[in-house]
Amino acid sequence: MEKLKANISNMLNPKLKLNPKIFDKDVEQIPIRKGFGEGLLKAGEIDKNVVGLCGDLVESTQMNVFAEKFPERFVEVGVAEQNLVTIASGMSAMGKIPFCASYAMFSPGRNWEQIRTTIAYNDRPVKIVGSHAGISVGPDGGTHQALEDIALMRVMPNMDVISPCDAIEAKKAVLVLAKSDKPAYLRLAREKTPIITTEKTPFELGKAEIYWMPEMGLAQVGIIVTGGLMHRALLVAKELEGEGIKTKVMNLSSIKPIDVKAIVALARETKRIVTVEEHQIAGGMGSAVAEVLAQNYPVPMEFVGVQDKFGQSGTPNELIEHYGMGKNSIKEAVKKVLKRKS
């Protein structure tokens, strides 16, 4: 038992100072959106030009933390997502760094063309914050489960796309985005999510990190993850290690800019890739990885994500299992890709 623990501490990339309690039953769980709230407060303290705009969802997007501390820099726009982002564009033209928060389904879901014309086309440093993304929104049902937002935003020129794996990474992402002079989309989730990283874990735009790796020798499969499914992917990697299958798990929170070098290096080593995301398979992070590999180093790939379907009401866990993004689905995808010729 002691030996296994020692091994695990080597397999969780020690350079990244990840949460040592990741595999404990009582691992701390915090909603990813909470990290946004804390990050925005901090960004507001650092730079007086940071402003917050919200579309009648102040508490559930966690913008209340900023709004209470800086009421003079908070703008309530009401249930009007088209206005939300266009007002933000105007404010950015006068030197502000606006963060606009709503649910991902409505922003960027409803106001895509407004974002394209007034923010991306103008290259204004507005940050679109889409909370409650993914199937794990749960009981609200399919109308509220944004499963297309990564695709919508990553096709837009000038737009960066970030999907953090936990609340701590979300907080760091906010601080980095507040300093960037580019437009960006930050994808958040509603549900409590296990804490993977620590304050000391690095976060950089355009950089992917290997969170899990074999203690010795080469990995046979590379698992690339974005967002809140990271914990499940790590649990799978650990179980597979027990079954004698060596994997590497990459956190691809920065979907755009994308870390071509790290993705190609992983594919070179493993010759097989599985991508994992809470999003439609079409157009999502997995597609972004496929674009990179098809051009640079083609290898067999399997995609874990939603398969061209809308969601429905249920608990987050029920839905993740039902729509094929649970631990078993990830494990099956790894075994399937292993059987393919590389």
Partner: protein, 287 residues
């Protein structure tokens, strides 16, 4: 903002020159919009040559007023006015809509940084102008400069326009002055047939705006309307400027078909003749 009779005469001549440039540009480009730009030539002339605090030789001057053109499709009048005001050479107007031009078919601020925003897709300008006005209010600069937004009546069909009217009314943005080009036409016909807007002034008042109605071709009345707007303390102002689409060229006036088409050689020749003779007032064509 005293406007003398001599100055009015000068502005009217300038507007006529700008109309000629618009016809020449559109003929060269072969596509684009005719009626809207001609209809707004007087308004643009008054603003760029009398009202706006701006510096064509130093376009990024921070203290300048901001003018957001929401209905980007009338950009020939924006480009022509800016060229006449000295932002760039008149010669460049001939590049409108051509490959590599700074004068894109609809304005793009990365190509032409002198425009405050890119526009074309309708209903987005007033929100951006509201954001600019709110940012200035936050910074205590709402008494130093004004944010103007020119918009069309057709784009009031867009829900986003009304979201912006609601927002600016709520935030009492006194430094925001919108001007609606009320020319009563849009691509599919007369606005009141396509999607009725009236009673427009009442609607805007109900959204907590100060409303002024004026002719868009009367320099003196327009100037007074802007003066009145700048004195309003507790709300944004919208000037409904009644214009004649195609103004200045008899054939183009009041026919919605000229909204989205350009003149051919013969039509341009006729239009330029009318403009050069000041509508037949003088015999020889002046240049």
């Amino acid at each position: 903002m005293l406007l003398t009779d001599a100055k009015i005469k000068e502005l009217e001549n300038k507007a006529n020159d700008i109309r000629k440039s618009i016809i020449e540009m559109l003929l060269e480009a072969g596509s684009g919009h005719t009626a809207g730009p001609l209809g707004m030539a007087d308004v643009f002339t008054l603003f760029y040559f009398h009202i706006l605090k701006h510096s064509p030789k130093n376009p990024s001057w921070d203290e300048r007023d901001r003018l957001v053109l929401s209905n980007g499709h009338i950009c020939p009048v924006l480009y022509a006015t800016m060229a006449h005001a000295g932002y760039f050479p008149l010669e460049e107007l001939k590049t409108l809509r051509k490959f590599g031009t700074r004068l894109q078919g609809h304005p793009h601020r990365e190509y032409l940084p002198y425009v405050e925003t890119s526009s074309g897709p309708l209903g987005l300008g007033l929100s951006q102008a509201s954001g600019m006005a709110l940012a200035d209010k936050m910074d205590g600069k709402d008494k130093d400069r004004f944010i103007y937004c020119f918009m069309s009546d057709g784009e009031l069909d867009e829900g986003n326009s009304w979201e912006a009217f609601m927002f600016a009314g709520k935030n009492k943005l006194r430094n925001l002055i919108a001007l609606i080009d009320r020319n009563n036409i849009q691509i599919d016909g007369i606005t009141e047939n396509v999607m009725p807007l009236e009673p427009l002034a009442d609607k805007l008042r109900a959204f907590n705006w100060h409303v002024i109605e004026v002719s868009g071709h009367d320099m003196k009345a327009l100037n007074e309307a802007v003066e009145e707007a700048r004195k309003v303390q507790d709300k944004p102002t919208v000037i409904i400027a009644h214009t004649i689409p195609g103004k200045g060229v008899h054939e183009f006036e009041k026919n919605f078909k000229w909204h989205g088409k350009t003149p051919n050689k013969e039509e341009a020749k006729m239009a330029l003749h009318e403009l050069r003779t000041l509508g037949g007032k003088i015999k020889s064509e002046h240049q």
